[in-house]
């Protein structure tokens, strides 16, 4: 029997949601400062309105739903899934006010795309967008990539039990430190240190490529935030092609890979354990997968003589394969070139790379290398069981920070999430085809949205059907949170409607 949620439960959810919104509101002060620094008055007002609206909503929820009780698992998951929707709606206010998005839905789409580190865009006339709005677009991935709840965990939430539930709700199961709030703060610490270093590296590269210093460092900060957080946004409409620079592409590639690594691995590297990167199942699987998919992409592109020189193959073929596999979505070709020029073999391989994604507990999307590695180990174990004598004891291990035995429970979890992703990819493709788009284009765009990649083959456009925009928003949201929080929210809504008192 399903029980209807009690008012006390709703209040707990509302209170913690309010706390997260308060945390988010203060992040809008960063573009306010940038707007004032660059003397952009109207954009400053856009963000002041957004900040005040978020603050009022946050205040309202924390006052009305005030409680001293901690979250349980279900409530933690619901708070997380609702906080992503609230962040999307409130974060879209300044975007919509700028006039660069044709509708509030387009602004919400862009905001969800940023927060979920996807990178699909519906902005109009990006080349004339203000510094403040452009920074906000790139701050979205930086906040969402690290985790919206982590913003609140770091500064506003005191109880560690509820905090851990929200942390898990954002698809992070690994604690780097025993205390989850310390873990959240560590994630912010390394992200900000890397932000400073990345901005310097990309800014200097930009200056050497002929960009004015102020612009170079602004672009550097934006590209780093969207690159390290595997989002793929860029301040100009041509994305990375704007720079026409192999050096810029190389630095970007480094940050894409670096950002797609597990935060636990960053923690190990931070503490001097460099050997972990060579032993870890995720980095090994990622390396093998990148090499294998690049080989097939190369064959596909060579068959059609798309890029007749090796350097072209590297700068276009490898760059986009790496960008897709790490789920970043940075592009140096135009969207329709994928369909018009790449051919089926290279394109399908790229879709597979996007679907697989990169490391767990990172900012990247997709199925994730840890799950792929575990499923491969389980398959290996089963094959051994068939081949070896019946009395032989077959045990399979993998290394992820420590040596771990392959257990049925972890294989089942990996398999369930993988199946959920596959269903999401196919469902999006079917909806795309329902609206008349070809199969390959629909599958490409759907995988890109659900895998939080951000590549587009031309479907994502302000003129696409509203239902498809909503489909992609849901895919980006579900793909980023890895389903459990969404299932919890759906369960809660169902219980509210059909549950018994």
């Amino acid at each position: 029997m399903i029980l209807r949620p009690r008012l006390e439960e709703v209040k707990i959810i509302g209170y913690y949601l309010g706390k997260i919104i308060l945390g988010l509101a203060f992040t809008m002060l960063i573009p306010v400062i940038i707007g004032l620094a660059f003397k952009e008055l109207n954009p400053t007002f856009d963000f002041l309105i957004g900040f005040e609206a978020a603050l009022l909503f946050g205040f309202f929820l924390t006052r009305v739903c005030h409680t001293e009780k901690d979250l349980n698992w279900m409530q933690g998951m619901i708070v997380v899934s609702l906080s992503w929707l609230a962040a999307m709606a409130l974060g879209a206010i300044p975007l919509f006010l700028s006039g660069h998005w044709k509708s509030s839905l387009d602004a919400c789409f862009e905001m969800m795309s940023g927060l979920s580190t996807t990178g699909l865009v519906l902005v109009q006339d990006l080349d004339h967008l203000s510094f403040a709005h452009n920074l906000w677009r790139h701050l979205g991935p930086f906040i969402g990539g690290q985790g919206i709840a982590i913003v609140a965990l770091s500064f506003f939430v005191k109880g560690t039990s509820g905090a851990f539930k929200m942390y898990v709700g954002e698809a992070r199961e690994e604690k780097l430190l025993p205390n989850v709030i310390h873990t959240a703060r560590f994630i912010w610490l390394i992200s900000i240190v890397y932000l400073v270093l990345g901005t310097l590296a990309l800014g200097i590269t930009g200056i050497l490529n002929g960009i004015k210093p102020a612009n170079a460092f602004f672009h550097g900060a934006c590209i780093f935030m969207a690159g390290f957080d595997t989002a793929g946004f860029a301040p100009q409409s041509q994305n990375i092609l704007y720079y026409h620079s192999p050096a810029f592409e190389m630095v970007t590639m480094f940050f894409m890979v670096f950002g797609s690594l597990n935060f636990n691995l960053h923690y190990q590297l931070w503490n001097g354990n460099r050997r972990e990167i060579f032993k870890n199942i995720e980095t090994r699987t990622l390396f093998i997968s990148i090499m294998l998919t690049f080989f097939i992409v190369t064959v596909g592109l060579n068959q059609l003589n798309v890029y007749p020189k090796a350097i072209l193959l590297f700068r276009k073929g490898f760059f986009h394969l790496l960008s897709g596999h790490t789920t970043t979505g940075y592009m140096t070709i135009y969207a329709t070139q994928f369909i018009n020029e790449w051919g089926s073999l290279a394109l399908v391989t790229l879709i597979c790379a996007m679907a697989l994604g990169s490391c767990a507990c990172s900012t990247s999307g997709g199925i994730k290398m840890l799950r792929v590695g575990i499923m491969f180990k389980a398959l290996k174990e089963d094959i051994k069981r068939i081949i070896l004598p019946g009395k032989a004891v077959v045990v399979e291990k993998f290394h992820h920070i420590k040596d771990v035995f392959v257990e049925d429970r972890s294989v089942r979890a990996a398999f369930l999430i993988t199946v959920s992703y596959l269903v999401l990819y196919i469902a999006g493709a079917l909806i795309g085809m329902f609206f008349g788009y070809p199969f390959l284009s629909s599958l490409f765009e759907s995988t890109s949205a659900a895998g939080n990649v951000g590549f587009s083959c031309g479907i994502t456009d302000t003129a696409m059907p509203t239902a498809l925009k909503i489909t992609y928003i849901i895919q980006m949201w579900a793909g980023r949170l890895e389903f459990m929080s969404i299932f919890a929210l759906i369960g809660f809504v169902m219980a509210s409607i059909r549950g018994k008192k």
Binding site: G210, Q238, L241, Y243, H244, S245, L312, N340, E341
Partner: protein, 163 residues
């Protein structure tokens, strides 16, 4: 007689095809047309026009500028000597010069790592850019002041409530 017939035929040919040829050559091609039919235009001389946007990125004797025709922006590889007429590039605070570029189109430029670009042979300014004077929007200012006032009121009320 033969000369007259030849002259008339030549005139008819020029009248029939000449202007079309001239128009085709001078007519600028949109970015969408170039990108979607990149193979057909590869290595051909094209005319493309749009607004110069972003930075002018100098690389020795040449530079990169990006020209946006309202749909997409395409990179133009240009000799620095051709840049003298370009004074404004598009950004939040300025609209860029509108220029017409005649040059060789590349689907995947061998010289520039496979970029889709145009190597400019000539550039002509069609319309001058300018600084954009963006006036403060009174509706936005008033709304932010009203919301700010409400927030301050709530804060003061909460202080009284605590006491």
């Amino acid at each position: 007689m033969l000369k007259r017939i030849s002259a008339v035929l030549f005139l008819v040919f020029i009248l029939a095809y000449g202007p079309q040829q001239v128009i085709c050559f001078a007519k600028s091609i949109s970015s969408t047309e170039l990108i979607n039919n990149a193979k057909a235009y590869d290595g051909k001389t094209v005319t493309y026009e749009g607004e110069a946007i972003g930075d002018i990125m100098r690389r020795g004797e040449y530079a990169w500028i990006n020209v946006n025709d309202g749909i997409n922006a395409i990179g133009i590889w240009i000799n620095v000597s051709l840049l003298k007429d370009i004074n404004y590039t598009g950004s939040y605070k300025s609209s860029g010069d509108k220029i017409e570029v005649k040059g060789i189109f590349h689907r995947a430029c061998l010289e520039h790592g496979g970029d889709l670009d145009i190597h400019a042979e000539s550039v002509r300014k069609i319309e001058s850019g300018r600084m954009i004077d963006r006036k403060t929007d009174p509706a936005k200012r008033n709304l932010s002041l009203i919301l700010g006032g409400v927030l301050v009121l709530i804060w003061i009320l909460s202080l009284f409530k605590r006491k």
